[in-house]
Symmetry: C2
Subunit: 166 residues, 2 copies
């Protein structure tokens, strides 16, 4: 193959990958929404979009302080405190005093959060279980390696602690 | 290796994959939230979580009728119509009369939707562009193949049209 043809081929494969990656991401997201619809009652519909984003970010940051959370979403401390209080009132998070520094408080998500929002994690588990039957051990290892590289090397805008699987 | 050891190894790799897949998924999600915070103003905070889910589902279903949308989220037609009207009022979707059957109306997302919610698609593009530099053509082809299989064979709960990349 000429160099031009090789580059052309690579571009086509990249376009396919963009499509495929979007599709897997979208399917995880839409499945989560479908499961949420089964669970939601009128009380939960009071959560605004911003509150949803906030509680998911607090979960991803693993017990941040209000200051750390404010810094991550790039808003002022009073603004962040306002969002935090509203989520505390609705029962999705709580403030826990630090055991090492009594002046410090950390934000923890509650069981109510896990009850409603951990559904997406469950579907990842389901798909991975099915992968065990469908793919060879070698394929799974290759997939894991490439995705790990993608997460660590190509997504540096998102600075969060390692994601925990329970 | 003994069979027990092989199975043990496979389980470890699967656990790793669950962790890695969760991590990539979470990073895409959290990046989307961070970008949203930059864009959101007080007007947009009026969107409830359920409305967010609805507009994303309508986008994924590609111009469904109200009945198709109601069926997908498994709610009654009047309930779906209520959610649809609220999203029309807020400017995220519009009803468009079908050209083939004048009695039929399809739901289309608006530019306002794309302006606010298409940020996650952009980050997928960014990561895939970086993948071009980071991975070999062969690695990209393998990744694409495995993810495609995952989407088509292992995620059958989520029945949506192919995801379009613009």
């Amino acid at each position: 193959m000429l160099l031009g043809e090789i580059n052309n081929k690579k571009e086509q494969v990249l376009e396919m990958l963009e499509q495929t990656l979007s599709e897997v991401y979208t399917k995880f997201k839409i499945h989560f929404y479908q499961e949420m619809f089964k669970k939601l009652n009128s009380r939960e519909t009071s959560l605004t979009t911003v509150e949803l984003f906030c509680v998911e970010i607090i979960h991803a940051l693993k017990n941040p302080t209000v200051a750390e959370f404010a810094n991550f979403i790039n808003v002022s401390s009073p603004n962040a405190a306002y969002k935090v209080n509203s989520l505390i009132q609705k029962g999705y998070i709580e403030k826990v005093q630090s055991e090492t520094d009594r002046r410090e408080y950390h934000l923890h998500v509650t069981d109510k959060y896990y009850n409603y929002f951990n559904l997406s994690q469950k579907y990842v588990s389901t798909v991975v279980e099915r992968a065990q039957e469908h793919f060879s051990a070698e394929q799974i290892e290759i997939l894991d390696g490439i995705l790990r590289d993608m997460s660590l090397e190509l997504m540096h805008e998102v600075v969060i602690p390692p994601v925990e699987v329970n």
